[in-house]
Amino acid sequence: MIRIALLLALGGLMHATMSFTVGTVPGSFGTTVSFGYLLLTAYFAGALFKRVRLPKLTGYLVAGLVVGPSALAFVPEAALNNLAIFTGVAVALIALSAGSELDLRTMRPLFRSIGWITTLTMAGTTLLLAAAIMALRPWLDFLQKARLAQAIAVAFVLGVVMVAKSPAVVVALGKETRADGPVAKTVLGAVVIGDLLVIVLFAVASALAKAAFGAAAATTARMLAWEVLGSFVAGVCLGGLITVYLQKVRDGAGLFVLTTCFVVSEVGRRLYFDPMLVALSAGLFIRNVTGTADRLRAEIDSSSLPVYVTFFAVAGATIHVDALASSGVPAIALVVVRGAGLLALSRAGAKLAGAPEVVQRFAGFGLLPQAGLALALAMLFAKTFPEFGADAAALLLGVVAINELAAPALYRYALTRCGEAEQPTDSLNPGATPTPTPAPPRPVAMG
């Protein structure tokens, strides 16, 4: 009750603050107050959601959605745009954290499962989604105008974008529930590798689709190759730099990591690198080539909660309810196809790999959430195909919105059901416990 009263009081103050705002576009102070308001509101919403046994993360997303431009509009669109620099840093930090958790040595027994699950879900679900989009063609204006070959190419690109997953949600929920075990590890591996593949596939598919529309496919392919390979190489260089810092310099590692994430986000974006790919590669390099990953995780984890809260609250605020309203039925249909495809194919993949029963039953739920990458690809799609990208992006945003809100709760449920989540969970933050020390990997009986 007190939390609700505090939320109302904050809302009242924010409402009053908005009446002070001068200028049609909120400036830095408008952004600052929006940032503070989002942080506090999302925190309380997370606590409320926790009480009803839903993920805190969903609370952050819902808080963002409610106070964002789609509903109450206490946080205006312009303020969200101004916060992009912070969410960019957050994405890089989260990706660095995700990469640094992927210990390929300890995950070796899981490779077979991850490989099968990733292959089947990526290929199968992409094709399923593309087929569903073609089936929905009469209801999708932007596809009606295209020739059949063009429509197939676009449907394939859309399928690739829709199959994107969310390492951020998986990492955040893993921390919130302190889940550890074959399901959590398999999901993390499948999600990270799956998203790397999505980035590559998107590059290839959109080059082909551009070619179908008569554009210079070679140029597009070259650009996207730069993005993928360049990001990977830059990530390895960055990982090396962070390692040297962690080994040679005693103080200020947190600030250095933050600076590098800032550089990755800002300079990387201007260079057409994918910040998430750069940071993931850096994290993977640090975890698997150097011995400094635990220190890096400790540096990141000590201040990670505000990053997660801000990132997910802003992600919630950018959910386009309007887009959902305009493309609701096809979006819901595609969400169902995507969910069914991922669940069924991950189960089939796990079975083929001889994974334990829990992995077969529950790993698919971890593939459902979507967030940053899917949103970014939706925007990129709109830019890549300006002729009809806006309409298609609306559909994509609708799909992402539904998955963003519903899927974390499903994955949390799966982690609880498979017995890998600690009960009762305390919080998303690692600050509730002493600095995390690397737990010895649980023995995983994998084929």
């Binding site: 505090l6 009081a9 809302g11 009242g12 103050l13 409402h15 009053a16 908005m18 009446s19 002070f20 705002t21 001068v22 200028g23 049609t24 576009v25 400036g27 830095s28 102070f29 408008g30 600052t32 107050v33 940032f35 503070g36 308001y37 989002l38 942080l39 506090l40 925190y43 789609s70 109450l72 509009a73 205006p76 669109e77 312009a78 101004n82 916060l83 620099i85 730069w226 830059a234 040297v244 310099v249 947190g254 600030l255 250095f256 600076t259 550089v263 800002e266 974006r269 201007r270 260079l271 000590s302 909660l305 505000p306 309007d322 309203a325 806006a390 305390d426 919080s427 933050n429 600050g431």
Partner: protein, 641 residues
């Protein structure tokens, strides 16, 4: 992208929620501002259209162009916006409405409100019925494609002259001339989009970026090396390093076009960080201020503090006035120019403060614990004087322009600032009291609270430092179990946030004007002179026992974070114009003072304090005020100096 027009059910939902919230903010509605807001709403757009109608106009443009700077040709061009008839009629109705209400608010703002609301169609009409027109409703109208004024044309705070008369006790500042461009992060506008790097330049940028990071790494390594630290002490630079000033240099380097990391668009996007940093400094100063420090003050101490503050302030204001007069020419009008007065007062306020590292320096020189405690208490009380000074400057020297909505008497602004600080402090107190947050959650709560308080203050053009100080002061002096974890959180984040703040400050620093450096030299000299004279006069107070080492520490004392926060706050309140020289004077003055203090006291130093953990806030519940001697390492080594 699809047209972002909210669905009707959303409009109704929003309206219903706003009505509910209007009840929640009933308390606020009792305040004169909120009451007035209901009658003659301050308006966003106060807009270009309404304000331009009568104002010779500057630089819409200060609206940064791609590089964050306005094109001079734009800036100088007079604009005739050709306000449509609907706007004109709305203006008149707005005037009538406001005058009927007898409000002291600027009525002209209503024009744009009404016009924008009309444009916003059904959505805004519905809101209008409830007399709640939100900026984004109006804003969306103002940003419609057929609107000749899009968001980029939004005038900055420093541009337009005010359309309405001002209350008698508020000093009116003239609009800043168009060619005096403010820094990108201090202007209150949307950040421009950073341009992508051209394909042929990409490899070079990648190499440059990696080299930049390698250089940063090398600096960190070299800076932490024991030999280098010994050298720093020998050269008298260790305190300069500890105070974080290398980050100012790093910021300036990162801003350099050849490096190209902190470009104008990036700096504009980092504006919120600067504001959070300002609020953070104010919050920390407030949270450190135990009200018991003013109780049972030893005899003579108030006299000493008063003398030091007043004499140092007077000396700096006098000397700065001479320099400023020299630059502008000694004319009668200059003496009554509010900008001239404002600048002198900012210099005086910032200069009369002393860094919290002063007690540590005294301890390093072998000062007794009693002396350290006494000096620590003096420094804290002087900080209070600095906050009061900033409060007065921000209240009585209100920034003018289209982006400033309300015109209230200066005294009302003082009360409003205090009220905002207390109100937000109480809210944060309720949050902390009712939440059993661990340290990481405390971090979210404090960061969110400080950002909220700072942004809230900034939206009203109040000082974020003062508002956050008030909030921190309340939290420090109200009872509660939260203090220890709050102190831990503040200690953990204090230095990183302050260093990032300095980094942005360094990037924004325009140190190219010779006048600023001349002012700096005079400022430093006047400050030392004022401190010496004030300490000498105040030291004679009856009953006061002040040791020689305490006197030396008080005279040869560095400037602290609050001084820098004051000038940055001033730059945000009054962007553009002469403020850049004041920034140079205070920022460079702070660095020079640190070096001079080290040099002046080098021979008196005890064995140097090893580089260790930063200072920490220590909460001493139900005890005497936390004196410097008992405050643990905080006063022994500076987190925020």
């Amino acid at each position: 992208m699809p047209e972002a027009r909210p669905a009707p059910f959303l409009v109704r939902f929003r309206t219903a929620v706003r009505v509910c919230l209007a009840c929640v903010v009933g308390l606020l509605a009792l305040s004169p501002q909120a009451e007035a807001a209901g009658r003659a709403r301050p308006h966003p757009s106060a807009s270009p259209r309404a304000a331009d109608a009568g104002a010779p106009h500057g630089p819409k443009g200060a609206a940064p162009a791609a590089n964050g700077r306005a094109a001079p040709s734009d800036a100088g061009a007079p604009t005739d916006t050709g306000a449509p008839a609907s706007a004109a009629s709305a203006t008149s109705s707005g005037d009538t409405q406001a005058s009927d209400a007898g409000s002291s608010l600027r009525a002209g703002d209503d024009a744009s409100t009404s016009r924008a609301a009309a444009d916003a169609g059904a959505d805004a009409s519905e809101a209008e019925t409830l007399e709640i027109v939100t900026p984004e409703d109006a804003g969306s109208a103002a940003l419609e494609p057929d609107d000749p004024l899009d968001g980029k044309d939004e005038p900055s705070a420093h541009t337009d002259s005010p359309p309405g008369p001002l209350p008698d006790d508020t000093l009116q500042l003239p609009p800043v001339s168009p060619d005096e461009l403010p820094n990108p992060a201090v202007t209150d506008g949307p950040p421009p989009e950073a341009p992508p790097v051209a394909p042929e330049e990409r490899t070079g940028v990648v190499i440059k970026t990696i080299l930049g990071l390698v250089a940063l790494l090398a600096l960190a390594y070299v800076g932490g090396h024991p030999r280098v630290q010994r050298l720093e002490r020998t050269l008298g630079l260790s305190q300069v390093i500890t105070a974080g000033f290398p980050f100012v240099a790093l910021g300036a380097i990162a801003r350099h076009p050849a490096v190209g990391v902190l470009t104008d668009p990036v700096l504009a996007a980092l504006g919120p960080l600067l504001r959070v940093g300002l609020g953070w400094v104010g919050f920390i100063v407030g949270f450190r201020f135990d009200a018991k420090v003013v109780q049972r003050l030893p005899m003579g101490l108030p006299t000493l503090i008063g003398a030091r503050v007043l004499v140092a302030f007077g000396c700096i204001v006098a000397v700065a006035s001479l320099v400023l007069l020299g630059a502008q020419g000694i004319r009668r009008e200059t003496l009554t120019d509010p900008v001239f007065l404002r600048d002198a007062l900012i210099l005086g306020t910032a200069g009369s403060l002393t860094a919290l590292t002063t007690p540590r320096l005294l301890r390093e020189r072998g000062g007794s614990e009693a002396s350290v405690e006494q000096v620590g208490r003096i420094v804290r009380l002087e900080e209070l004087a600095g906050i009061v000074g900033l409060l007065v400057i921000a209240a009585y020297f209100r920034p003018q322009g289209a982006n400033v909505s309300w015109q209230l008497p200066g005294t009302a602004w003082v009360l409003l600032t205090l009220g905002a600080g207390v109100g937000i402090g109480l809210l944060v107190y309720a949050i902390l009291l009712t939440t059993t947050a661990n340290q990481a959650e405390s971090l979210v709560l404090i960061l969110g609270s400080v950002a909220f308080a700072s942004g809230f203050a900034g939206n009203l053009r109040l000082s974020p430092v003062v508002v956050c100080f008030m909030a921190g002061l309340l939290l420090a002096n109200f009872p509660g179990e939260y203090k220890e974890r709050l102190a831990e959180t503040l200690n953990r984040l204090e230095r990183p946030i302050y260093l990032l703040f300095l980094l942005v400050v360094g990037a924004l620093w325009r140190a190219d004007g010779l006048h600023g450096w001349v002012l700096m030299a005079c400022f430093v000299a006047a400050r030392f002179g004022g401190m010496w004279l004030g300490t000498r006069i105040g030291g004679k107070a009856e009953g006061l026992v002040l040791s020689d080492e305490s006197r030396l520490a008080l005279v040869a004392s560095p400037m602290g974070a609050l001084s820098i926060a004051i000038v940055v706050n001033a730059e945000m309140l009054y962007p553009g114009g002469s403020i850049a020289e004041i920034v140079t004077a205070i920022l460079a003055g702070a660095i020079v003072t640190e070096v001079l203090v080290q040099l002046l006291t080098r021979n008196r130093s005890a064995p140097p304090h090893p580089v260790g953990p930063r200072d920490t806030i220590v909460i001493a519940p139900d005890s005497e005020p936390t004196p410097a001697s008992q405050a643990g390492p905080r006063d022994a080594r500076g987190g925020v100096p």
